[in-house]
């Protein structure tokens, strides 16, 4: 039995925004896979809930005219993974969210909820970071779009205001075209896990597949929020696909992260993973892009 004071089910985005305006303390619930856990833990016990479950406007994945992929915030992990557009253009995202929890969770948990929960360990986060995802937020004041790397403020904290709703995640064509990526979730077991570290790496190779034209690298759990590794990306630009490059890539990744020691994992352990996963994700991304290290 879950301890919540009230449950208000809305049918449209506008109704949701209206309800949020009226109820200062109300919590948005969609799939419930984060909110219900917090209620059970007592952190949100006695809260009021506004349910946006199954609002049609928040569903669906579309290819817009300019080639942007638009993902409805209430798409479940399962729906994202099995969507044709995702499989064709951004398979890294489908694979990433397919590693969340277990089959039951992936049928209820939504990608929008995953982002708005504000956790650095979110399985969608690192991948959306390297895809330069744009988040569409709606409120009474209107609609505004912000890049995902400005969205996270701290553990469990995001830039989303109480009266705003995340409606859509957009990935522009220039950010996914000819771009191949790989996400590694490091958990202590193979399912039902929270990431000890998440690492997403994507590359765009030169036409001869011998050089890197662009690399993007991001981590979850390497800092209080998901992070992009700007300096290593700048450094890697134009580098040849050599073993040394891969080794240095791993070493340089260490300079960009700031993991903490917790009972879940020590700093030393996380740093080892930061280096190792950067190399492994890079090699896999290069392979997807048709390249080869030391070809």
């Amino acid at each position: 039995m879950y301890d919540f004071e009230s449950f208000y089910k809305v049918e449209t985005v506008d109704e949701a925004i209206e309800a949020l305006e009226k109820q200062d303390e109300a919590i948005v619930i969609s799939g419930g896979s984060d909110v219900l856990v917090k209620i059970r833990e007592g952190k949100l016990a006695g809260c009021s809930l506004i349910s946006i479950h199954n609002i049609p406007e928040l569903k669906g994945i579309r290819l817009l005219e300019d080639g942007t992929i638009s993902i409805g915030a209430a798409q479940t992990f399962y729906e994202v993974t099995n969507n044709e557009l995702v499989r064709r253009y951004i398979p890294i995202l489908g694979n990433a969210v397919d590693q969340a929890g277990g089959p039951q969770l992936r049928k209820v948990g939504t990608i929008g909820g995953n982002i708005c929960n504000g956790a650095t360990s979110a399985d969608s986060a690192s991948t959306l970071f390297i895809l330069n995802a744009q988040l569409v937020l709606k409120s009474k004041k209107g609609v505004h779009t912000i890049p995902i790397n400005e969205f996270y403020l701290g553990p469990g904290k995001t830039i989303r205001e109480h009266n705003e709703l995340l409606t859509e995640i957009r990935i522009p064509r220039k950010d996914y075209e000819q771009f191949y990526g790989h996400y590694i979730k490091y958990g202590k077991r193979k399912a039902m896990e929270i990431a000890t570290l998440g690492c997403a790496c994507g590359v765009r190779l030169s036409p001869d597949k011998r050089k890197v034209e662009e690399v993007r690298l991001s981590y979850g759990v390497a800092a209080p929020t998901p992070i992009r590794c700007g300096s290593i990306e700048a450094w890697a630009c134009g580098k040849e696909l050599k073993k040394d490059f891969v080794e240095l890539f791993g070493k340089k990744a260490l300079e960009e992260v700031n993991p903490r020691s917790s009972w879940r994992a020590s700093k030393e352990f996380r740093l080892q993973l930061v280096e190792e996963l950067a190399k492994r994700a890079l090699i896999q991304a290069v392979t997807y892009a048709g390249g080869e290290i030391d070809a």
Binding site: A45, G102, Y186, K188, E193, W263, E268, F269, L277
Partner: protein
């Protein structure tokens, strides 16, 4: 003949369709909810409560605190009671305790209309404490001057025992054996939890002045006794009913919250009160497998012959005694029994109170810990001598006909070498050992093994008694009632096969009554050790023989023959010599019920007191791949071979081994209860952070058996319930040693520890 057949579980259909009724399915609609209020410190004393706000919460009916419960200490271990005071379990807790001994200790209880009201009420209770420093390790607890956790045990040591095999001490032997090689190491195991699917749940109500408790327990008759002791009321005033249960693994071989539940119903005029323990509470506040530190030494000759060993163990008991010293005593016995020291061995064991959660019974009961020490040590010795660890074991492991010098339990049938041989061939030990000899690179493979022996029941340490009742029906079928409990292991099916074997009545006509009800069910101490097919099986056999005699006597009178001329085979009374049909059993049964001349309800009931015991044994072989850079171990192949006597139902036996191996995998690779070292607060009391392996983490589990009929088992059988969990962790540890040359001496072999060790040994730069 029924023994050895793969009949379908008698409860399979009910469980698969969801029709089987568990405790939660039976809770009456008007039941109130009882909830434990837990301490938020690990060590101290409750000074006072402020209940005002909590009592204002709508739906809260009553709050009872540690200041109001009966002043009556009771034991909780699911052991048979001993009429001798010196053999009784330690009575060291009350229903609620003023002296706080662990984080989450039971200090008050709420009765409310529903779960939410109870939770809300609990959050509103304010407690004032006198706070002491938490004592989490045995070392801290044994430091002079530290606060006593129980005033009855100054210095916090519950028990300290030692024994020796052979004439001379280890040090004397060492002095004499100048050429011997010495291997010294300390092995540590962690606290883990049983993680049965169904968390502890019970409900209690009153009928007149009697208390009825329906509970998910392995030991209904023991629960009756302990509730009587805890509430200080006559045992006959208590009735305990055990429906289907969703696993126990030893956690429910303790009397957990049934006494408090019984007490709560008396506070509300006998209205039903339900107590359902959450997963979080189950992990942190019920029982655990004891964490034990084992300091070991061994002397060996250069040819591999083991000369002598020394074993010193410190068992972290946690807050309350529960099964206490019995656990580590078992660890030491395993260490002693499994190898044959040419000169002798000695052991010393301490069981120490700390502010950790209480250690209790868990599948294997101290043997997994002892086997971890003995089997790591065996491989460390072989490694040092550059010897094949399998050959080392063949040279030194327990011999045919072994008799324990202290308990006098005998290895009646010893299949350990046959298990090793079978496993060696089927696993491909020699080829793999050679193939993976010199592994380099960041991904390395290796193979390892571990052996064990396991005494089946608890004789001669404790009483072994079991009862069975058989009641014939009009149609020649029968009801069978067992005091022993089905807890998911398949006992009901095994008993059905045993009854069929002995009576000649086919399995489809034997209706086992699965629920135990202490008002009705004959006495048995319950499901624990690996005793039921061995000890309670003897009761089935005895009762079955008695029933057949009565049936044949009646049949003989009907046809004017001598009883000795008749047999009961396949539901028919036949002539012993000609095998020809004399009468269908159904005719005999119907006549017995309704005969105008001689009506008789044919029933049989017998108690079997088992004054015997025997060893089972086995081996695990594991093949691993170690990904050094990320500290991960992949199990490529794993095989258990068991020497458990004649198998009653081979398919069920195999399933039993699967479950045990899975438990061993978790113990080896990831499970560990973690606590804040400053406050003693549990950190991972949920199934996200407590790394129970998922099906994705579990490789195909290979199982083999050596079937040697044991003369002391009722049907040639001996232990199988616990053994499969025992050898898995050390086999994996030894495989990692083979793959990486790194000996990891503590469990679990979790990634962070591996990374740290690999770094220390230069495998990671």
């Amino acid at each position: 003949m029924s023994i050895g057949k793969n009949i379908t579980r008698v409860d399979a259909e009910l469980k698969v369709t969801g029709e089987a009724k568990y405790t939660a399915d039976l809770v009456p609609g008007n039941a109130l909810v009882g909830k434990v209020v837990r301490s938020t410190i690990a060590n101290g004393v409750v000074k006072s409560f402020n209940l005002e706000a909590a009592l204002q919460v709508p739906g809260v009916i009553k709050i009872v605190t540690c200041f109001e419960v009966p002043d009556c200490q009771y034991p909780t271990a699911g052991h048979p009671w001993s009429v001798e005071a010196s053999h009784q379990d330690i009575a060291d807790r009350k229903l609620l305790n003023t002296r706080v001994r662990t984080y989450g200790d039971d200090i008050a209880a709420i009765i409310a209309e529903n779960d939410v009201a109870a939770e809300r009420g609990a959050r509103e209770i304010q407690v004032e404490y006198e706070i002491y420093e938490p004592i989490l390790s045995t070392k801290e607890a044994m430091t002079p001057g530290v606060v006593d956790i129980h005033k009855e045990f100054p210095g916090n040591v519950i028990k300290n025992t030692e024994f020796r095999v052979g004439e001379r001490s280890y040090e004397e032997i060492k002095e004499a054996e100048e050429d011997a090689v010495e291997v010294e190491a300390t092995y540590r195991t962690q606290a883990v939890q049983h993680c049965h699917i169904e968390t502890p749940i019970s409900y209690a109500y009153m009928e007149n002045d009697r208390i009825v408790i329906v509970s998910s327990t392995q030991i209904p008759h023991i629960v009756r006794r302990v509730v009587g002791q805890a509430l200080d009321i006559p045992w006959g005033k208590i009735r305990v009913i055990k429906p289907y249960i969703g696993g126990g693994f030893g956690n429910k071989q303790d009397v957990l919250y049934e006494p408090l539940n019984a007490y709560l119903t008396t506070l509300v005029g006998g209205r039903p009160v339900k107590m359902e323990i959450s997963r979080e509470e189950t992990l942190a506040c019920t029982r655990t497998r004891h964490a034990i530190e084992m300091q070991t030494k061994a002397l060996v000759r250069k040819d591999g012959r083991l000369i002598a060993r020394q074993f010193a163990a410190y068992s972290n008991q946690g807050a309350y005694a529960s099964h206490a010293h019995a656990i580590v005593a078992n660890s030491a016995n395993e260490f002693k029994q499994i190898y044959n020291d040419a000169e002798g061995m000695q052991a010393q064991c301490f069981t120490v109170y700390t502010n950790m959660p209480t250690g209790g019974a868990m599948r294997g009961y101290g043997i997994p810990q002892g086997a971890f020490a003995s089997e790591c040590q065996a491989d460390d010795i072989a490694y040092k001598l550059q010897m094949d660890p399998l050959e080392y074991r063949l040279m030194n492991c327990v011999k045919e006909g072994y008799e324990d010098p202290h308990t006098h339990i005998k290895f009646r049938t010893n299949g350990i070498r046959a298990c090793i041989d079978k496993g060696r061939r089927e696993f491909g030990w020699d080829e793999k050992r050679e193939k993976y000899k010199k592994q380099t690179g960041t991904v390395r493979r290796g193979v390892g093994m571990a052996i064990f022996c396991y005494k089946t029941g608890v004789y001669p340490i404790s009483l072994e008694t079991a009862s069975c009742r058989m009641v014939l029906n009009q149609d020649g079928s029968l009801q069978m009632q067992m005091g022993a409990t089905e807890i998911g292991q398949g006992a009901d099916t095994a008993f059905t096969q045993m009854a069929s074997e002995t009576t000649g009545i086919t399995e489809d006509k034997i209706h086992i009554v699965t629920a135990q009800d202490t008002d009705i069910t004959p006495f048995d101490t319950g499901a624990y050790a690996s005793r039921q097919s061995y000890v309670s099986g003897k009761a089935v056999k005895k009762t079955g023989e008695l029933l057949v005699k009565k049936i044949l006597k009646y049949a003989a009178a009907m046809v004017g023959m001598e009883r000795e001329q008749l047999r009961l085979v396949n539901n028919e009374i036949v002539d012993k010599n000609s095998k020809e049909l004399v009468l269908p059993l159904e005719t005999v049964a119907t006549t017995a019920f309704y005969s105008l001349e001689h009506s008789k309800h044919i029933t049989a009931e017998a108690t079997s007191q088992c004054r015997d015991n025997t060893f089972a044994s086995g081996v695990c072989f594991a093949e691993v791949e170690v990904d050094i850079g990320v500290g991960k171990i992949e199990i490529l192949n794993i095989l258990n071979v068991h020497d458990s006597g004649t198998l009653i139902n081979p398919k069920l036996a195999e399933a039993q081994v699967h479950g045990g191996m899975s438990m061993g995998l978790g113990y080896a690779l990831g499970e560990e209860l973690l606590f804040n070292q400053e406050t003693g607060k549990p950190l991972n009391d949920n199934l996200l952070d407590y790394k129970l392996p998922t099906s994705m983490d579990t490789p195909d589990l290979q199982v083999g058996f050596i079937e040697l009929s044991d003369e002391t088992g009722p049907y040639g059988n001996k232990a199988l319930g616990e053994p499969p969990a025992i050898p898995v962790a050390p086999a994996i540890r030894n495989a990692v040693l083979h793959a990486t040359d790194v000996a990891i001496d503590s469990l679990p072999l979790a990634p962070q520890k591996l990374i740290c060790e690999f770094r220390k040994h230069g495998l990671i730069q």
